[in-house]
């Protein structure tokens, strides 16, 4: 990526997500397209803009950023993966193994067992409900993790005693030896 301005990078990421949503619609994955459009073009872009506002919006220019070993590694890995796809069935073939075992069962039995038109919802919430429970836990953990990392407001950038020690992640309720009560913000979680 040759862009130095990180703001442009974030905007391009948003456009990329929107294009991905369009591709999903072409592939008949309407639920997925819905989610990708809402999440990718909305939340993800806003979060990255927030991070840029908090850190920096320009990348430092370094001389000689060509990275030949990385390029070779990437090309070799890509070649191996392409060799691996030669055994795969053609795009869209109805006789592919993925369509043989469980999916016809879901499509046929969903009417009599659950009676919902949207098969994706019935698979998500009923046939594969256990997986969705795990995913919900992961989302909860990520939100709790973000709260733990940056939930409490920032320390001022210039600390009187300097150094890395004063920037701790979680602040415990017990009193700190150093007097940084004045630096602690209200719990803004």
């Amino acid at each position: 990526m040759r862009l130095r301005n990180l703001f442009a990078v974030v905007m391009l990421t948003g456009i990329f997500s929107l294009l991905g949503a369009a591709v999903y619609v072409i592939m008949d994955a309407v639920d997925v397209a819905f989610t990708e459009a809402a999440v990718g073009a909305g939340i993800s872009t806003v979060l990255m803009l927030g991070t840029l506002a908090l850190t920096t919006s320009e990348e430092k220019v370094k001389p000689g950023t060509n990275n030949l070993p990385a390029l070779i590694l990437v090309l070799v890995t890509g070649g191996i993966l392409i060799y691996g796809t030669l055994d795969m069935p053609n795009y869209g073939e109805a006789s592919a193994p993925i369509h043989q075992h469980v999916a016809p069962h879901y499509l046929e039995k969903s009417t009599q067992e659950i009676d919902l038109p949207n098969v994706v919802t019935s698979v998500l919430a009923s046939y594969r409900g256990y997986d969705t429970l795990g995913e919900t836990f992961v989302i909860f953990t990520a939100a709790a993790g973000v709260l733990a990392i940056i939930g409490r407001g920032r320390r001022p950038q210039q600390a009187p005693h300097g150094g890395v020690d004063r920037r701790r992640g979680r602040r415990s309720r017990k009193s700190d030896v150093k007097s940084d009560d004045e630096a602690s913000k209200e719990g803004s979680s």
Binding site: M27, D28, A94, V119, V146
Partner: protein, 121 residues
């Protein structure tokens, strides 16, 4: 190279692999942390595309049962990717929170500068 499948049939998978390799290259070669996270997102999108393209059936339609349609695309990859997208944005936000903390501690988000700081101490 003996090709057992037709050329256009596999083209979509090669496009996905190219996208995956682009994401891989960004992650291992860029120094800026935010760009690394963008590379991870590109990688993630390519994996989603791989699953969704494997789920499509020619002549099928979206897996919402309605009268008049007989062939449906496979709903199982849709389910997996649906949750994966939302989980992906949650973990990306966790990564971005870490970047903000790193900026607080090390005053920089360039990887080689952080490495130098770590080697010095």
């Amino acid at each position: 190279m003996a090709m057992s499948a037709d050329f256009p049939g596999l083209l979509i998978y090669w496009v996905v692999i190219v996208l995956m390799m682009i994401g891989f290259y960004i992650v291992i070669s860029q120094n800026n942390m935010v760009k690394k996270i963008v590379g991870l997102n590109v990688f993630q999108v390519s994996v989603f595309l791989l699953y969704i393209t494997m789920g499509k059936v020619k002549g099928g339609t979206a897996p919402i049962l309605a009268d008049g349609f007989e062939v449906y695309s496979n709903p199982l990859p849709h389910v997996l990717i649906l949750t994966a997208i939302v989980v992906g944005v949650a973990t990306t936000s966790l990564g971005l929170a870490l970047v903000v903390r790193i900026k607080d501690s090390y005053k920089t988000i360039e990887d080689d500068e952080i490495q130098a700081l770590e080697d010095d101490t």
